[in-house]
Amino acid sequence: MTDTWTVATIVAVAAGVVGFFVVLRGSAFVADALPTGAFAGAAGASLIGVSTLTGLTVFSLLGAVSIGLLGRRSRHDVATALTLVMMLGLGALFLSFSTEYAPEIYSLLFGEVLGISVQEVAPTAALAAVSVAAILVMFRPLMLSSLAPEVGAARGVSSQRIEICFLLVIALVTSMALPVVGALLIFSLMIGPPAAARAFTDNPYLAMALSVVVAMVTVWVAIAAAYPTNWPIGFFVGALSAFWYAIGRGWTAWRRTRSVRGAPNRDGGTPAVAC
């Protein structure tokens, strides 16, 4: 049980940090596609007899590169969708070759967090550390290319190179988290908590820290709730993420109405339009 808590916390930290940029850059589709597509790699791995982690890593990295390359010449969402379906198509092929895989898909999609063993702690922690370190190293160029790509380009930050690097980091987080928490869980953690965090503060460092905290609370509550009910943990994470998002949106809306209503009283002029 302690291993479960440890691994889930590690995953939450990585998801919170990477997720901040996923939300900032509007990469929700990619963060969704890579985990979903990568689990086809697990099917392929079981077919040729290598470890699941290898299959996941290879597939998610390939997916990231493919999205990056296709995305140069076409719309980003089209590139992502086509890469995703191609990976899933391969997954369907692999699955048709191996027959005894069916129950494992379910756990890969929805997570098997309560069955985490002690051997999984070390690789998860290592991959998480690498992804968080990569994000921290790229922090400034990532911020720049996310918020003002033109300024970034003028300063010599190639937004295409940054994009590929960022996709690779998402792929890394994906392959680390997928076997333990499932494709669905990692994706919800990467967008729900950061989206809420961004609504509360404009300071990037604070938002990132807040998003890590919210992600951690999410997994802790989800594990605590899944244990007695025996309901799938993915349900709690998905529902909580939607809940955080709703709170964030509600807070933004409330602050906006307050600032619009309050503005004339303070300076007597026309109300400032918040956007």
Partner: protein, 295 residues
């Protein structure tokens, strides 16, 4: 001939059903897909296929027809996405993701209940990967009817949607209810996607929605032509996929054929890549004919 069409292809009734139902769904997805890709809503289209899984698994629980479960859940999701109402693409994708995450979370719960109460553990896999050869022939009329309705809605929305996709301001000026047209379109996507997800599986429904449309838009910039190309490519990929899957029964490793989904997706992917040279030639021609700058 026999080398291409393995014996029995034209007489097998699962093949007939696959060709008719798959073809109908392919054309609807392709037509709705052109608008979807133009409006940059591929992610929403993909999300509906997963969310309809929620409805499908829920319908097993409460004992209604899966068709209503599939369509109901995705139309509900479309309504929620529209209510969240973000127009900027970044925020819109985020809202889509949140709805999809919550939907899949519910699906996990429903499937958990399904599997603990009944023994329908294969439901996830069937829904996700689908198989055109297992379509019940009884639902073919339903599929064709729904397809005609979706096509009718698309035809009805054609002009207002095209205008509001190209220029929101212009559409406003012409008195087109942009928000309403967008909502109606999202509902049409939801119905079309849930229909195809149920018939041919979630993978193929995303593939047929986005792939042929994106390929068609590489081939031409005229909307009407794009629709025709998209439908043609989609139909070709589906039927060729069915044929290859039928033939693959005799391929290694034997015992059973390769999945239809794999073939169709691969064909769509290859078509898309093959259209790249055409797109770059068109881009060059466009630049050459307008050297004075601009677009």
């Amino acid at each position: 001939m026999p080398a291409i069409f393995e014996p029995g292809f034209f007489t097998s009734s699962p093949v007939h059903v696959a060709l008719v139902a798959g073809g109908a769904v392919a054309i609807v997805s392709a037509v709705i897909g052109v608008f979807t890709v133009m409006r940059g809503q591929s992610y929403a289209g993909h999300a509906f296929s997963d969310i309809s899984v929620t409805g499908g698994s829920g319908s097993f629980l409460i004992g209604i027809s899966p068709l209503w479960g599939f369509a109901g859940a995705s139309v509900l999701a479309a309504a929620i996405m529209d209510l969240i109402g973000i127009r900027k693409p970044r925020g819109r994708d985020l809202a889509t993701g949140i709805v999809r995450g919550a939907g899949l979370g519910l699906a996990a719960l429903f499937l958990h209940w399904d599997t603990t109460q009944t023994s329908a553990s294969g439901v996830t896999i069937t829904v996700l990967f689908g198989s055109m050869f297992t379509i019940a022939s009884s639902i073919v009329p339903v599929i064709v009817a729904f397809s005609l309705v979706s096509l009718g809605v698309a035809a009805l929305l054609y002009r207002p949607l095209l205008l509001s996709t190209v220029s929101t301001d212009l559409a406003f000026a012409r008195g087109i209810p942009v928000r309403l047209a967008g909502a109606a379109f999202l509902a049409a996507v939801a119905v079309a996607v849930s229909l195809s997800a149920m018939t041919i599986g979630a993978i193929l429904s995303t593939a047929l929605l986005v792939g042929p449309a994106a390929t068609a838009m590489r081939l031409t910039s005229r909307p009407a032509l794009a629709f025709a190309w998209s439908a043609l490519i989609s139909l070709a990929a589906t039927w060729l996929g069915v044929l290859l899957a039928y033939d693959s029964f005799y391929w290694p490793p034997g015992q059973h054929g390769w999945p239809v989904s794999f073939f169709v997706v691969t064909l769509i992917f290859v078509f898309y890549l093959a259209a790249q040279p055409v797109a770059s030639r068109r881009a060059r021609a466009g630049r050459a004919s307008a050297p004075a700058g601009g677009e």
